[in-house]
């Protein structure tokens, strides 16, 4: 078999040699025979004649020889390709319309598929990555769905869960790199020593972290990515053992990762040991994860996930027995869930992506139907040619393969253009903010995409060829040959096929439009949500404190005091403050608070609330609304009175009928000493910490920064455009501490806008798809009706000659268009309701069945298809009797 393929391949690739050799060999034979005949006494001319006759038809023998090599198939195919090419070139209007339709529809699908492929399908870049899982604590009854893992969890689980080959924890962090005055902030990760072995991919040069490097003071070692190594040391081959300055500490480089190392969506370029004190590892800290530390593990080969889950549950149950907090934790519905790492990471965008792909497929279907229509029109106009050729002996196989070659040639061209569009589409998506999606920066154009494009193009070619071939073969030859003489009855079958195409097109476009409408209204509703503050004219920036110099709270408090003082002196600054977590920062950890003297109601589980430390005039700078009492101000930051402010949700939860003012609470989940209680001095509007579409009334507590310190966001309200303040803010920070960079500098409005990217992008894409779908429907309806008019010109002419009015003719066609529209809208309406239900989870404050949208879409569809049908209808009404009758 292999030899034959090679022989065919050689004959095919050295086609010229093959042909020349064959000619030479055959003519050699004839000459030899001629000579023999001459020797036997014939005259040279007679001998030559006899030799040729006895040899047989040279052409057919050559054909047989080619066939013996399997070459005839290629010859045939080549001929059909050339024929199809000529036919397509002869009708540029048709070809360009078809190519554009294919390019746009395939391009849309390929773009979305590129995202699905890169985000959902492609495995994580680690060996046997399907064995990687993540384990997180959840306290659903306390409103905390996800709380990561604690350091204690790690030390308790490490080596104790037989289902796991390896367990590890990590935390995203940042590090300040470089010498004083020229520092840069780098994204980093702190990881446990077994992090790289859990992933199955570690440094190519050097080593990973050791157990003794996980305590404070011994942790000044770093593993860097290939990119950082190249960028910072010009790919120094002797980097191992050298020192770089990290957060002011000399830190030894111990390893360099391979170039393609990439953990989930992390942008980290530096990896440090995750250091902890012995105290951090005690059972008391078991539930203090706060979602900043995450745990991953590698399942043992062949062990199902459920088994790991059982073992984790069993261990948790064992540990809870002698946990003093055990009862409260159990009340909160505590569990540790084991889930696939990849699936978990992309779970949030999975439904959106699948929905968009469904939308793109609907678009492709509409486009295909349109093309089917166009091809049928074309087949109709070439019916006679085909009939003549069939009558002259062209085989059915031949006619079918010719149709197939033509459609496939077109779809392949469309596929190629579609790939080009997808390449642009991928870039457009990243401009629309796809990079902020999980794995979003890894969306690439790869071989699989090209293969899918090829497969899609070929199968589309086949799908398009089927109805045409069927029509060509089924049509009685006699009818086709005569159809020029009178309107053939077989035309009617085609016409009804094409009308059903239009109906399905209208229905599909209706569903797309309705879906886009639902997404658009959801976006509108989420943009209308008040974030709880006035986001205009605010600039924010993040400052993460290094351990060195900021080990205790007083240093941080002193820094913020000085910084706010500095900022307050800047011109155009109206007010400024700091907060430990700015709204919509992407982080939304919750923690417990306990009301003094209040015992939980029966069945009530402890609640997680957003907790903030605020300094300066944070509330004023953010423009929070004050409902009762007063704000915490700069004066409160300086005094050490234990005051706090809560939000409306918090106040309403604990004091639904009275005022929260004057009540006292403790930070944490237990009653404390009277001196540690915070007095509520003000109630502010609720804040949307996790996102504008957050529905849960989680409640928030604001403590003075001195009592709740940590990394800070600086918040500055200015009378200027806030963007212009960026450099000034950096300079002010440098003024106070030259080693501290500010990062994530963004206006509050930008944060609000960015937080909606996950809603905006799908809505925009759906709107784009719908617009294309409308255009395709318009083209489709126009095409079908024009053709119907064209087919019935004679009938129209005769009727007009017999006294029919142009208005009657026009209305007849408009009625036809309306009937098709009505069927399509009815089908589409049903489909739209089903689609709406399927996308319920993606909607925000919009019912899946939205009458306004259905009516609106009906209006738009009606307008588009009627406009598309007006032209052919009027043309029908203007049919000239004389012309028609003369043409007959």
């Amino acid at each position: 078999m292999f030899k034959r393929i090679r022989s065919l391949f050689r004959a095919f690739t050295h086609r010229r040699d093959f042909e020349d050799g064959m000619t030479e060999e055959l003519s050699f034979h004839i000459e030899q025979y001629t000579e023999e005949l001459i020797q036997s006494g014939l005259s040279p001319s007679e001998a030559a004649r006899r030799a040729r006759i006895e040899f047989g038809g040279l052409n057919s023998i050559e054909g047989d020889c080619r066939e013996a090599r399997g070459l005839h198939l290629f010859d045939e195919l080549g001929r059909q390709f050339r024929y199809a090419w000529r036919m397509l070139r002869k009708t540029p209007g048709f070809t360009i319309t078809a190519l554009l339709t294919l390019a746009v529809c395939l391009g849309a699908n390929l773009t979305i598929f590129a995202v699905i492929n890169s985000v959902l399908l492609r495995p994580l870049p680690f060996p046997e990555s399907d064995r990687l899982v993540t384990i997180f604590n959840t306290y659903p009854k306390a409103g905390v769905d996800r709380d990561g893992a604690s350091i204690t969890n790690y030390y308790e689980r490490r080596g104790q869960i037989p289902a796991f080959a390896s367990t590890s924890i990590y935390r995203y962090s940042t590090a300040i790199i470089g010498e004083s005055g020229s520092t840069e902030r780098e994204q980093a990760m702190e990881v446990s020593p077994d992090f790289f072995s859990t992933l199955g991919l570690g440094p190519v040069v050097g080593r990973t972290f050791k157990e003794e490097e996980t305590s404070f003071g011994t942790n000044h070692v770093v593993v860097m990515t290939d990119a950082f190594w190249r960028h910072s040391s010009n790919a120094d081959p002797h980097i191992i053992g050298k020192k770089i300055r990290v957060d002011g500490n000399p830190t030894i480089v111990i390893g360099v990762l391979p170039p393609d190392f990439r953990f989930l969506s992390s942008e980290a370029r530096l990896y440090f040991p995750l250091a902890s004190s012995l105290e951090d590892r005690t059972p008391q800290q078991r539930h203090s994860g706060g979602n900043s530390i995450q745990m991953i593990a590698r399942l043992r080969s062949g062990i199902p996930l459920a088994q790991a889950q059982e073992q984790i549950d069993a261990q948790n149950a064992r540990l809870e027995v002698d946990d003093p907090q055990g009862k409260m934790i159990a009340d909160a519905g505590f569990r540790s869930l084991v889930v696939q790492l990849h699936g978990d990471h992309v779970a949030s965008i999975r439904p959106t992506l699948l929905l968009l792909q469904a939308g793109a497929l609907a678009l492709l279907l509409i486009g295909t139907v349109n093309l089917g229509n166009l091809f049928l029109v074309r087949a109709g106009s070439r019916a006679k040619e085909h009939a003549v050729r069939q009558a002259l002996g062209a085989s059915r196989k031949h006619i079918t393969s010719e149709v197939l070659v033509e459609t496939t040639l077109l779809t392949l061209g469309g596929g190629l253009l579609g790939l080009a569009i997808a390449a642009g589409g991928i870039r457009l998506l990243s401009a629309l903010g796809a990079e902020s999606l999980p794995l979003g920066s890894q969306i690439v154009f790869d071989g699989r995409l090209a293969m899918v494009a090829l497969a899609a193009a070929i199968s589309l070619g086949v799908v398009l060829a089927v109805p045409i071939a069927w029509l060509n073969l089924r049509r009685p030859l006699g009818d086709a040959l005569q159809s020029e003489g009178r309107s053939g009855t077989s035309v009617r079958a085609t016409q009804s096929l094409r009308q059903s195409f239009v109906v399905s097109q209208v229905a599909l476009a209706f569903m797309l439009l309705a879906g886009a409408g639902l997404l658009g209204i959801s976006l509108q509703h989420s943009m209308d949500v008040s974030p709880g503050f006035r986001p205009d004219h605010i600039l924010t920036g993040k400052i993460a404190f290094p351990l060195k110099g900021y080990a205790d709270d007083t240093a941080k408090v002193a820094f913020t005091e000085k910084l706010l003082n500095e900022i307050g002196q800047l011109p155009d600054v109206l007010s400024a403050g700091v907060v430990t977590n700015v709204p919509l920062s992407g982080k939304s950890g919750k923690s417990a608070a306990t009301i003094q003297g209040r015992s939980p109601r029966a069945g009530e589980s402890p609640r997680g609330h957003y907790s903030y430390g605020v300094g300066g005039d944070y509330f004023k700078a953010m423009g929070f609304s004050l409902l009762e009492g007063r704000f915490l101000t700069a004066a409160d930051s300086r005094s050490n009175r234990r005051f706090c402010v809560v939000d409306q949700d918090f106040a309403h939860y604990y004091w639904p009928n009275g005022s929260a003012l004057g009540h006292r609470l403790f930070e944490g989940s237990e009653q404390g000493k009277d001196a540690d209680a915070f007095t509520i001095i003000g109630i502010v509007g609720s804040v949307k910490q996790a996102g504008l579409t957050e529905e849960a009334a989680q409640g928030a507590v604001y403590y003075p920064y001195a009592f709740h310190s940590g990394d800070i966001f600086v918040v500055v309200r200015t009378s200027m455009p806030p963007e212009s303040l960026g450099l000034t803010l950096q300079a002010a920070v440098r003024q106070v501490d030259p080693d501290l960079p500010v990062n994530d500098v963004r206006t509050m409005e930008a944060r609000v806008t960015d937080s909606l990217a996950a809603r905006r992008t799908p809505a925009l894409l759906a709107a784009l798809f719908s617009a294309i779908a409308l255009l395709l429907v318009a083209i489709g309806s126009y095409g079908v009706l024009s053709y119907a008019v064209e087919q019935r010109r004679r009938e129209i002419g005769v009727r007009m000659a017999l006294g029919a009015l142009p208005g009657q003719i026009r209305n007849q066609f408009l009625l036809l268009a309306l009937r098709l529209l009505a069927y399509g809208v009815m089908l589409g309406g049903v489909g739209a309701c089903l689609t709406g239900r399927a996308m319920q989870t993606l909607l925000f404050h919009v019912p899946a069945f939205n009458l306004a949208i259905l009516i609106g879409v009906t209006g738009v569809m009606g307008l588009v298809s009627i406009v598309a049908c007006l032209l052919p209808s009027y043309r029908a009404a203007r049919t000239s009797i004389v012309e028609v009758i003369r043409a007959a």
Partner: protein, 113 residues
């Protein structure tokens, strides 16, 4: 000389393999050799030889190489490959069984039944 008979279908390949097995030959010589070794029994249409040669070459039963003919012309010479030799052996055995079977069937006399 008896009237030439038409070849049974499928036997041309066998004859070509046999002819080429004796020594490398070009197409025209294959024809002459078959005529010679078969005692000029068969009438082989000249043109039909070449598709058969190409098919056998395609099946890698014979190999082709350009060389010089007796009168110093460039000609394509065919030789038997190992696979071809095996095929020839099988076909010969098969043919002999067939021929003897048919012969004994045709020679059967009434008293032998």
């Amino acid at each position: 000389m008896a009237k030439p008979v038409d070849l049974l279908p499928g036997t041309l390949d066998m004859l070509i393999l046999k002819a080429v097995s004796l020594r490398p030959l070009h197409g025209y010589a294959v024809l002459q050799r078959i005529r010679q070794i078969s005692g000029e029994v068969f009438d082989i249409p000249q043109g039909s030889l070449y598709p058969a040669l190409y098919r056998l070459e395609h099946q890698a039963l014979i190999a082709a190489e350009w060389g010089q003919s007796e009168n110093n012309r460039r000609a394509k010479y065919y030789t038997l490959t190992t696979a071809g030799r095996r095929r020839l052996r099988e076909e010969t055995a098969g043919w002999n069984r067939l021929a003897s079977g048919i012969a004994s069937a045709l020679n059967t006399r009434p008293e032998e039944v």
